[in-house]
């Protein structure tokens, strides 16, 4: 798998610092899992986080915080309290792929289906899978928000280049493109998107009323 398209450096940094929303973090994590270059960069941002943390102005703890802490670790008080895994956030692509079998694909347009993975509240990025049949020409479109797309299987091309498995595409309102899926294999993508997908082509405008993405 040759990866040619990587997340923007600002996206990688936000991911390493943990300021990216979860839907986008999920997509970036799936890319970073299989990209040594981005993994090393995220590692660097985490190291920066460590240095910044060390040099942060300490916020005084309340009276008795130390005793409470000691009590917590020694007596297993609050044993069911959350503990975070001290690891780089990554995604097992197999876990993502296994969700293919669950739930129905929904029709989005000719040759295109999608499957929502999250029910994010309004204003938050949504996560979904997109499946397009070989040779499908997707409606020309732009975005009112931003969109991260990770290609899991197959490939597509548009004016920005060709995107295959492991590649990550970032798009926002400044990008207007019309992807065409390669012949021979379906293309399946993991997408995090906020805002509305705006279809700009003639077919797209016809379809827009039916598209709830």
């Amino acid at each position: 798998m040759t990866i040619r398209h990587h997340p923007d450096i600002a996206t990688l940094g936000s991911f390493g610092f943990g300021t990216l929303d979860k839907a986008r973090a999920f997509v970036v994590a799936a890319h970073v899992t299989s990209c040594a270059k981005c993994k090393a960069m995220v590692r660097g941002f985490e190291e920066t986080g460590g240095v910044v943390l060390e040099d942060l102005e300490p916020a005084p703890l309340s009276m008795g915080a130390g005793e409470a802490m000691l009590d917590m670790v020694l007596h297993g008080a609050d044993a069911d309290r959350r503990t975070a895994e001290p690891r780089l956030a990554e995604v097992d692509l197999r876990t993502v792929l296994s969700t293919f079998d669950e739930g129905p694909w929904r029709w989005l347009g000719p040759g295109v289906h999608y499957k929502p993975l999250t029910t994010a509240p309004a204003g938050e990025a949504r996560l979904f899978l997109l499946k397009a049949e070989p040779g499908t020409s997707l409606p020309e479109h732009t975005h009112s928000g931003t969109e991260l797309t990770l290609i899991l299987r197959g490939a597509f091309s548009h004016s920005g280049g060709r995107f295959g498995p492991g590649d990550l595409e970032e798009a926002d309102s400044s990008v207007e493109h019309q992807p065409v899926v390669d012949d021979g294999d379906v293309c399946i993508c993991l997408v995090a998107m906020d805002g509305q997908l705006r279809l700009t082509g003639f077919m797209g405008r016809l379809l827009q009323p039916f598209v709830r993405l």
Binding site: D21, V51, D78, L88, A89, T118
Partner: protein
């Protein structure tokens, strides 16, 4: 919600970037190893005394209330106690390791309420392990170089780093809070990350 980050420096004044004594940074690693080896409560309390207030400060600057920030700091240190065996000093410095714990708790803690339950279940797979990075400098040496590089930044540049570190607001909200155009926010964030990338690439 995170407006506080705009008003105060989250990073102490540049002179605080004076290199830490080697034994101080390595000793944090040693303390974690002592917790791992024999549940050394004295070692743990030393870690708590140093990192507890800093993690609390980190959470407050990320928008948590005083009480909730302290709770998240306790949970971070509780994780240090419970997962000390998984700490590998050759892979990460103590502060990097603790930062990743705090960061993951911040993601969970400050956003949990906003996520639907099934989304949470999907996103819980976000934890797998990383291979050891191929680096010639050890983690403590890298942290020292990084600290030195940060100390060389101008106030404006530090401001950019700060922006990228604590902001999790959508860019339009940052633009509104800072009263600058949206495109400017994006390019400033991008510039700060590129600056960091340069520093990080010099470490190789």
């Amino acid at each position: 919600m995170l407006c506080s980050a705009h008003q105060a420096w989250p990073i102490a004044a540049p002179q605080r970037y004076a290199p830490m004594a080697d034994n101080e940074t390595t000793s944090h690693s040693r303390l974690i190893e002592r917790v791992a080896a024999n549940q050394d409560r004295h070692a743990f309390m030393l870690l708590f005394a140093f990192f507890g207030p800093r993690v609390k400060g980190f959470m407050m600057r990320s928008g948590a209330s005083d009480a909730y920030a302290e709770e998240l700091a306790q949970e971070t240190l509780l994780t240090v106690w419970r997962k000390a065996q998984t700490f590998d000093a050759s892979r990460a410095s103590a502060s990097t390791w603790i930062f990743t714990i705090a960061r993951n708790l911040r993601i969970d803690g400050l956003r949990r309420e906003k996520l639907a339950a099934n989304a949470q279940a999907q996103l819980d797979v976000l934890d797998l392990d990383v291979e050891r990075p191929d680096q010639t400098l050890n983690s403590v040496e890298r942290a020292e170089r990084l600290r030195a590089a940060l100390s060389g930044l101008s106030p404006d540049q530090l401001d950019l780093v700060r922006l990228s570190f604590f902001e999790d607001k959508p860019h339009p909200e940052i633009a509104k809070a800072l009263n600058i155009p949206l495109g400017t926010v994006k390019s400033r964030l991008r510039r700060s990350m590129m600056l960091l990338r340069e520093i990080l690439e010099d470490l190789k």
